[in-house]
């Protein structure tokens, strides 16, 4: 008989997950950070060309189970709306911050289409929190406290903080902030990655993704929590540009044993700059013939109304659980991985 109905994780992992969630909630309760929930279904979605989203159809009330009537009425006024499953709760949480919520956190699901593998499941659990008045270094301290606490009793030795530039130079000898096609290509060929030249061409951010994924990340955080800050400005995403070095951005990524666990920013609060970044990404989407995303005008409006200075970070809790339990695959920590969902 088929065993497909069984969980993909061991039952012990259900307990470990519950314990991790309880400790995390206690951590934030002790610091008076408010737990919030925001919608998984939204009218708009992030524009990041690297994130594929799930699209769903919302039938307006009274229209369910009446496909014929819908078609008839659609000609006069729409009976259904496109809704997106959120790739992260970031935009909604920023709207809460702009509305004056103060520091908040959320533990919830996020959805990313087309992502499946040893470290990816298209539906996953995310912990995201924002600290009003925190600079990025202050947030990094708090990340270290949370993770250190969760790993207490285990062999996580210390916390490393290293700049993206330093760590990139030390593993590749290349400067990540200044692109040189010649140097990058020569390095790729020397290190058995000659296919990078054809894949990356003259695309600096793509080179950084390629080389960082292959040559830097696997070496990061051997039994330590490693925080890499000062990402190149071309990989700024939703972070502010650093006020002392315009080539870098106030963004941090955290790693343990070569696994990417999370990503944080000193949050971009400039509505105009945010609008520009959205437009740029929408243009790339159009150019690459990717699914059309809908720019979040409500986020822009919230930023215009005023986002308090804050830092925020999102952590993949399934991957954290992988590390806490020494699991080799994300399937081993999920009740039902996508293939059995």
């Amino acid at each position: 008989m088929s065993q497909d109905w069984r969980p993909t994780c061991a039952l012990e992992l259900l307990r470990l997950r519950a314990q991790m969630l309880a400790e995390t909630r206690r951590f934030f309760a002790d610091r008076s950070v408010l737990e919030v929930e925001t919608p998984l279904l939204g009218h708009s979605i992030g524009t990041d060309p690297q994130l594929e989203f799930f699209t769903t159809e919302y039938l307006l009330p009274g229209m369910a189970c009446m496909p014929e009537a819908c078609r008839e009425q659609d000609r006069r006024s729409p009976t259904r709306q496109t809704l997106f499953l959120q790739t992260s709760p970031e935009f909604a949480m920023k709207r809460l911050l702009a509305a004056g919520s103060g520091s908040i956190y959320q533990i919830g699901k996020a959805f990313r289409n087309g992502e499946s593998g040893r470290f990816h499941n298209p539906e996953f659990t995310i912990l995201e929190w924002y600290r009003v008045g925190f600079t990025l270094p202050q947030l990094m301290d708090e990340i270290a406290e949370l993770i250190g606490g969760l790993f207490s009793g285990q062999s996580l030795q210390e916390t490393q903080r290293v700049s993206y530039q330093d760590v990139f130079v030390s593993f590749t000898g290349l400067d990540p902030l200044v692109f040189s096609y010649q140097d990058y290509s020569a390095y790729a060929k020397e290190s058995g990655l000659s296919e990078a030249v054809a894949i990356c061409g003259h695309d600096h951010p793509l080179w950084l993704d390629f080389l960082f994924s292959h040559k830097v990340q696997p070496q990061l955080g051997k039994n330590v929590l490693c925080m890499v800050y000062g990402y190149p400005a071309c990989q700024s995403s939703l972070a502010r540009i650093n006020e002392h070095n315009a080539l870098t951005t106030d963004r941090v990524e955290i790693f343990i044993n070569g696994i990417e666990l999370g990503n944080g920013y000193y949050e971009l609060a400039d509505a105009k700059e945010q609008g520009n970044r959205f437009d740029k990404e929408l243009a790339i989407r159009q150019q690459q013939k990717l699914p059309v995303s809908v720019k979040d005008q409500r986020l822009i409006a919230a930023l215009q109304s005023g986002l308090p200075d804050c830092s925020g970070v999102a952590i993949g809790l399934d991957r954290l659980l992988m590390l806490l339990s020494g699991s080799a695959s994300i399937d081993d920590v999920l009740s039902f991985a996508i293939r059995r969902a």
Binding site: D48, Q50, G114, E115, S116, G117, R118, F119, H120, G192, L193, E195, A196, I199, P205, L206, L208, D209, F210, F212, S213, H214, Q217, Q235, S237, E253, E260, G262, N263, A314, G316
Partner: protein, 189 residues
């Protein structure tokens, strides 16, 4: 031939890479939270046997390779070529030592083996995991020795040399694991 995208790459899939037929061994999805998705693929060149790692941008594709494994009977060696036959159809194939490679030393006339065909031409030969072969040459055994403990070299009827326990004699048939080249047991006829 079909075209396969990175999301279809799985162990055993045969594809063309750098004009050579290859078999995918492992496919790992690599994606930074904010960044390009890649597939890091471990792949074996079926011509050379070499295993290499190659990265693809997710969504890239490769042409499938017309590679099939066929059970055949090994017929004979004419000095220049080895000859094989498909038992059901009596269709015959011949190939030189370069393709036969290491497998040659385990091939006994009439035994079956797996012939990998690429565009209907032999690409590689794999012997069965276990073969039974007679010993044609080995030092006389030491009386009283019944277990392993050291052992001695023995030449088999196909020319292969394996280490056998001291008690095994010329003319006896032994079973050998072709993956490790190690003696398994004596075979009673």
């Amino acid at each position: 031939m079909a075209i396969y995208s990175t999301n279809e790459f799985k162990a055993g899939l045969k594809v063309m890479l750098d004009n050579d037929p290859c078999a995918i061994i492992e496919n790992e999805f690599v994606k930074p939270g904010k960044g390009q998705a890649f597939n890091r693929v471990k792949i074996r060149n079926l011509k050379t046997g070499r295993v290499m790692e190659r990265t693809f941008k997710s969504g890239e594709s490769l042409e499938g390779a017309d590679v099939v494994d066929v059970e055949m009977q090994y017929l004979y060696n004419d000095g220049q070529f080895r000859h094989f036959m498909v038992p059901d159809t009596f269709e015959q194939y011949q190939t030189d030592e370069k393709v036969v490679g290491e497998a040659g030393k385990w091939l006994k006339d009439q035994d079956s083996c797996t012939v990998t065909l690429w565009n209907d031409a032999p690409l590689a030969i794999s012997p069965p995991n276990f073969v039974d072969l007679a010993i044609t040459e080995t030092d006389p055994g030491v009386r009283g020795d019944t277990s392993g403990g050291g052992g001695k070299p023995a030449t088999l009827e196909t020319g292969a040399v394996v280490r056998v326990p001291l008690f095994v004699q010329i003319g006896e048939v032994i079973r050998v694991d072709t993956r490790t080249g190690e003696y398994v047991s004596r075979v009673k006829e």
